[in-house]
Subunit: 252 residues, 8 copies
Amino acid sequence: MDKKKLLQLLGEFKAGKKSLSSVAEKIGSMGYEDIVFAKVDHHRKQRQGFCEVIFAPGKTPAQVGAIAKKLLEKSDTLLVTRASAKAYKEVRKANKLAVYHELSGAITVEPKAGKKRRGNLLIISAGTSDIPVAEEAAVSADIMGMRVTTVFDVGVAGIHRLLSQRKNLDEADCVIVVAGMDGALASVVGGMVSKPVIAVPTSVGYGAAFNGLAPLLAMLNSCAGGVAVVNIDNGYGAAALAHRILSPKVEK
Amino acid sequence: MDKKKLLQLLGEFKAGKKSLSSVAEKIGSMGYEDIVFAKVDHHRKQRQGFCEVIFAPGKTPAQVGAIAKKLLEKSDTLLVTRASAKAYKEVRKANKLAVYHELSGAITVEPKAGKKRRGNLLIISAGTSDIPVAEEAAVSADIMGMRVTTVFDVGVAGIHRLLSQRKNLDEADCVIVVAGMDGALASVVGGMVSKPVIAVPTSVGYGAAFNGLAPLLAMLNSCAGGVAVVNIDNGYGAAALAHRILSPKVEK
Amino acid sequence: MDKKKLLQLLGEFKAGKKSLSSVAEKIGSMGYEDIVFAKVDHHRKQRQGFCEVIFAPGKTPAQVGAIAKKLLEKSDTLLVTRASAKAYKEVRKANKLAVYHELSGAITVEPKAGKKRRGNLLIISAGTSDIPVAEEAAVSADIMGMRVTTVFDVGVAGIHRLLSQRKNLDEADCVIVVAGMDGALASVVGGMVSKPVIAVPTSVGYGAAFNGLAPLLAMLNSCAGGVAVVNIDNGYGAAALAHRILSPKVEK
Amino acid sequence: MDKKKLLQLLGEFKAGKKSLSSVAEKIGSMGYEDIVFAKVDHHRKQRQGFCEVIFAPGKTPAQVGAIAKKLLEKSDTLLVTRASAKAYKEVRKANKLAVYHELSGAITVEPKAGKKRRGNLLIISAGTSDIPVAEEAAVSADIMGMRVTTVFDVGVAGIHRLLSQRKNLDEADCVIVVAGMDGALASVVGGMVSKPVIAVPTSVGYGAAFNGLAPLLAMLNSCAGGVAVVNIDNGYGAAALAHRILSPKVEK
Amino acid sequence: MDKKKLLQLLGEFKAGKKSLSSVAEKIGSMGYEDIVFAKVDHHRKQRQGFCEVIFAPGKTPAQVGAIAKKLLEKSDTLLVTRASAKAYKEVRKANKLAVYHELSGAITVEPKAGKKRRGNLLIISAGTSDIPVAEEAAVSADIMGMRVTTVFDVGVAGIHRLLSQRKNLDEADCVIVVAGMDGALASVVGGMVSKPVIAVPTSVGYGAAFNGLAPLLAMLNSCAGGVAVVNIDNGYGAAALAHRILSPKVEK
Amino acid sequence: MDKKKLLQLLGEFKAGKKSLSSVAEKIGSMGYEDIVFAKVDHHRKQRQGFCEVIFAPGKTPAQVGAIAKKLLEKSDTLLVTRASAKAYKEVRKANKLAVYHELSGAITVEPKAGKKRRGNLLIISAGTSDIPVAEEAAVSADIMGMRVTTVFDVGVAGIHRLLSQRKNLDEADCVIVVAGMDGALASVVGGMVSKPVIAVPTSVGYGAAFNGLAPLLAMLNSCAGGVAVVNIDNGYGAAALAHRILSPKVEK
Amino acid sequence: MDKKKLLQLLGEFKAGKKSLSSVAEKIGSMGYEDIVFAKVDHHRKQRQGFCEVIFAPGKTPAQVGAIAKKLLEKSDTLLVTRASAKAYKEVRKANKLAVYHELSGAITVEPKAGKKRRGNLLIISAGTSDIPVAEEAAVSADIMGMRVTTVFDVGVAGIHRLLSQRKNLDEADCVIVVAGMDGALASVVGGMVSKPVIAVPTSVGYGAAFNGLAPLLAMLNSCAGGVAVVNIDNGYGAAALAHRILSPKVEK
Amino acid sequence: MDKKKLLQLLGEFKAGKKSLSSVAEKIGSMGYEDIVFAKVDHHRKQRQGFCEVIFAPGKTPAQVGAIAKKLLEKSDTLLVTRASAKAYKEVRKANKLAVYHELSGAITVEPKAGKKRRGNLLIISAGTSDIPVAEEAAVSADIMGMRVTTVFDVGVAGIHRLLSQRKNLDEADCVIVVAGMDGALASVVGGMVSKPVIAVPTSVGYGAAFNGLAPLLAMLNSCAGGVAVVNIDNGYGAAALAHRILSPKVEK
């Protein structure tokens, strides 16, 4: 609901230019859309810790560049996920500070001045093949303002590798576990800490991994209670969930 | 590693009864199991907010009763999930205070004295058929010490029902969304708040819901970023995740 | 937004009891929920061709009876789907006119006075085993006010049976095709008419029908373009879709 | 049945050149194929709102060009779906007026003179990645003669974007909802209007979208009753269904 | 097309009672349905080797009895598949000669006088648990007039059991292979003979048999070329296919 | 068992060079392998109607050429399926008469002298996209010695196209139905004839065809009893099955 | 090949009653079946460590009893799996020593005299719900002659429980891991030992375990190399595999 | 636990530089990680029969080369699986003795001096298309120190080919069966020998093989008891399992 319009309407009413019933009807008919929109917009601003995000797949490099340019006009922060090197070239045209994270295909733009950070996020991955997804999570979480620690290649096939991470596990406020194949790392970590564990299945592996179905199901069935699961290969989604968990409440 | 044993060993060493090399070897050979066990045990105690839980399916009423009795010897709190009325009868023999939550099949035992609560948990469900799962989440969360508010039947087919829950959404620290069929409620709620949203798919619905596969996939693909997903019908798991999120950090 | 409240507020404003800014703020803060609710409610009333519907599975007979009773207090029309004979007994206690449709488990209550009907709906089913689902569609469509014709057992294994239905096909405004197994009837009918065809896969059949997956996929892949598909065994959903198609527009 | 042949036969019969029995037999033996063909042909002509359509995948550019050329000999309207730029080149050789719709790969040929249009079709898509499918629906619907309005990027993650479309929703006679990922938009729209809603799942999304399975199942399980579902990415099919719904009845 | 009607029409035409154009139109409008029907009916009669068949699941005992009674009024042969003992009781009321085949649930009625038989059908099953399906095939094939030999429990885990069936394999005109679990028997038999092999997967087995999916896929992928596959547990279907293969051509 | 060896053994026995027991033991120990091999080899020769077949996928062009050359040394007939143009080049080096069937990728070599043919095989396909698979079936069946008639593009969306094929259907001894999407053509044809119908699902189609799963399931669930199903896109397999059905018995 | 027959034949040959060629032919024509049978039978006897096994599901108690009785006539050892208490009653009639293992439904009969045992088999299960399957493995392995140690409830959610099993793991020659849900225990154990690990997925768990699919896929994708997987819930199969691994070679 | 550190600590304690309690605490706080690590490391060394393995997919050629170089600094043996020719080039830069196994993409480096071998491993494959996977198994097993015999193309479609392998089967200590399509070879071999049989499903085949799902399920359901199954196309995994089975026990 447009506040200006409302004030004008009330003014006219008080001035006797509009009858009670016609004003009441008018207010009702202005529709909820505007009010909702206003409210939500406000609510969006409060969420700004979440920078704007472009999901690149299915968009041409030129399109990615154009959207990035547009977003950077009203924001000094940008995250693009799953972008090709070509798309990066286009984004760089729009902003010279754009950084390309090659393994995950993420592109980031951030203001030079450091930001205030909150929350320790530990990201651990089971194998070297899971690193691209772990990087997507790390880059996303970093730009959202978390303090990120990454530990790679601590799969349960050598359980001692994980056990030696006790200190990292203890210091974290939240743990993202990235694992393909059997996804077992999520369960083991889930059993070692009582803090939030976010499991990201990856599509890496031999045939019966079925592009991530195997670790996805394993993680959903984690024998450690209360493990959060996100979509296959969705490193960004895991970071976004960590952000929800570690942010101070902003609505209200 | 048994501390007593270690002290004795060191004493003997100082007293010259044991050589340096034999003591060093002894310490090495005592094995990590005990150390690990000790460490983890301590860590378990700190987790006690999680009461002991029995998953009843696949156990006879007598077995459920026996396990419950044993657990109640060392704890004044108990949660059994998915129990039959018969199993409840058995548990009641062990403890007269046991309460049976009929819809979800949960059984709870709690000390009479109220406990300190922390964290506002909102549990909303899409349809009346999702209530048993929502109840499992609510009962579990309550016994874990959260302040629980439940709102049922606010599915997206009538989006206004959800929109009118703004206040509840604003006051919550964490939201559990229980929905079958299209699981769309999780996405909509995820888009309305920036706090943690835990989605629980339920197995309710016509044929192509495939016992919860439809909402499970929908929730994993929520277009609102960062929604946490747990197993189908797993109200307890959602509560356990909320507990992880809303608990003060205890390890370290 | 409560109209009474709004009028009162405007009255107080005009009377000078409330300042412009405080009234403007008040209106804004009343929230969109109420407005939306009011709007939608109005919109719901216009939809009343859709009678209230109870999906019985997962509810006890007593619960079905109680909900039915409550709904019948404000409506003279009721539809319950998938109800057991026991649930029917409970509903009959609430309303002596309740009719039980045994094959589909539908329960209906309708005012005695005939209603104005619009739209010719033809419901055809492939085999005798599909009849319960076809009946659910027929009963639902009838109570929604369509003129329903049903033709059973015209599966494509004897294509002549279908070809002899030319007249029925010609006279219909919309056709619901109920078929299990290979679901081929939907494609053939879709190729014979240019009017809307709604395909309902059923869960009837030997093993590789996988509880309706086979006809569901077949219908989604109908080689006749523009066939609408609804959920497995969802006769009610097909009727609801026909209702959407055959109703005069009511919103605006 | 060839009318000319039939007239000749009757003429010969009247002229006494053929006996009653031989003529009766002849008519019987001419077979139903021809009659059926004649009948259906007539029926096809009545359907001409449906222009001829070529599904390009699996055909070489040369083949697409050749079929297009042949169809354009007897029609001034053509629709090719999912065509490559190379296929377009071939079609353009056959007709200089051919237009290529790059996002969806649709090719259209239409007579210059405007056509009479009927029916307001609103096409809304959840995300920018769904636009190619939405475009296929829009181009197809346009050539079939509907008045098409398109609204992109109104996914439920920001429900206010959808709520602000009230006017478009009110003015439409039929709504096509194109959505990938969780497919939730279909349910929400289905709950906001009582007119026909056609849901098109798209194959866009992270791993557990399983190439469109997730939104397909979600849409089939829409908690808003009576939503029509078509095949994954099948924008053309959705338009064809809208055409069936919005056309005046033509058979009879 | 009704011959009587046609003759009358031609008579009136010759007699000058009807004009050429009106008669031509009349013949065209009589529709293909009747012609098709007549043609197909004739064709049905020629197919009578296929006795009438009732698929009992989803029908009440009373319904099965009623349909059986009706069918037996115009036929002295009947086959009911998957019937319960209660359904048999009902059928027996209609015909005292009805025989119940307990393992498969088949009910048969046959004229006392022996029939002429053609074709040697060998039915072999892998395990004892496959016998009910094999029996359904055997009973169905017998009533259709084939000479049936059955050999049970010759699964490939003991390949010698199969190899010792050389004589039976040599004498058969067609072989039905009934197997659950790995379905390997179909491949081995398919490699041992060059005659038609019909594979029937059964739903018997441990978890990952997924109710027959495992042998179904295995049989479709038989490394012996040209093995025919029918639906899971569909012994009747296998017999019907054998009947198609071993029957003299009857159409034309 | 080597006959020469056996004769020698018996000779030595008669000559008293070997005792009864040692000869008996020797015969037993010669092993069944040789006997089996001999027997089966003989049996293979009788099967020679089946020419040698190379499945090209997963083999390099050079490998295909080498195997083809080797096979052609002992046979004047060859069939390669799913070969690339490059593989064809290699095969042509080995035999100048090699013919490449471009649509299906089949390569054939046949002796110039015509062969004796037996059996009329009708191959019909639903859409133009199914033609490559239909061609594979046709080429395979032709080289196996059947008389092949092909009819393309008679899908059930225009049922009259199929009905006009009555004559072709009547003259066939066996019908292969090639169809993707809904696979409905197999059911309709299965209901129109009582001869063997072999259904080949194809992988053509929009998303929910799931690469042929949709028509595969539809065909396995054909409401016309006794339809034989082979693997997705397996035109060769369908021809091999037709060959089994139409061949005179050769074993014994 | 019947030895008696062979001796007789050779005798007649030596006695000049049969010519060389006729005897040679006779031996060839006796067929390989008998030889194969003899050979395999001998080979079966050598395998007798595998007692006879009856898979009870799908058999009536009476049938189980009858087969058991028959087997016990020629053997003093028997194993029935998945038997009901009623089936046990029937087996007990045949042999008073039959023991019923209630959790798994196994029935065993063994000679009183102890047997020579070989091989240490460790069976560990993740949760208490996996015990029935673990028991089936244990009972089966015991009757096959292995030394069996069982450790229950050592799932990875509390990894210390497993780590404290170092001694048991070290002493085993082979380890069977029984686990449902995430199946992670198999991976962890596989990473802790270099001896054979046999993974048995169980069907226990919440919805997305899909009756054992989740642990099955997880185990097939074990990040510890070389883990053997058997069918869901197939404790017997795991024991049979352990038997193959731990047995001295017997063929040759 | 670092031994040097421990010795130093004990020395200081004895020397009175540290009190009993402070030393005891120190030892406890050193954490189990080091101890575990030390222990496991030792245990890893004992496993050295397993050479270091790099799974190449998802790694760039440069990355594969770099990891290989690093591993070869501490080992004279290396196995890379699924590597491209380009990756091989990179590995060759690190070690001139690197051998590329083209079919499977394996790269091996081995010391020139022959190694002591133990265990006869027979690897048999069903078709020529399974050879790459069989080669991966063979190369892996060879480098692990087994005596490997390979037999290709003995699929069950010509069962005699397998039967003639009796000698090879008898001499093996363990058999790996590599098969795609119906996977039936595993069952047949499993029934012919009582030694360990390891089944490897391959992704070769027509559509309904679903990239190896068909043989995977078939092998899991092998009607021969106790067949071990590994992941689709996982030749390395099969070799690793054989290595576990055929190795002398090394732990303890």
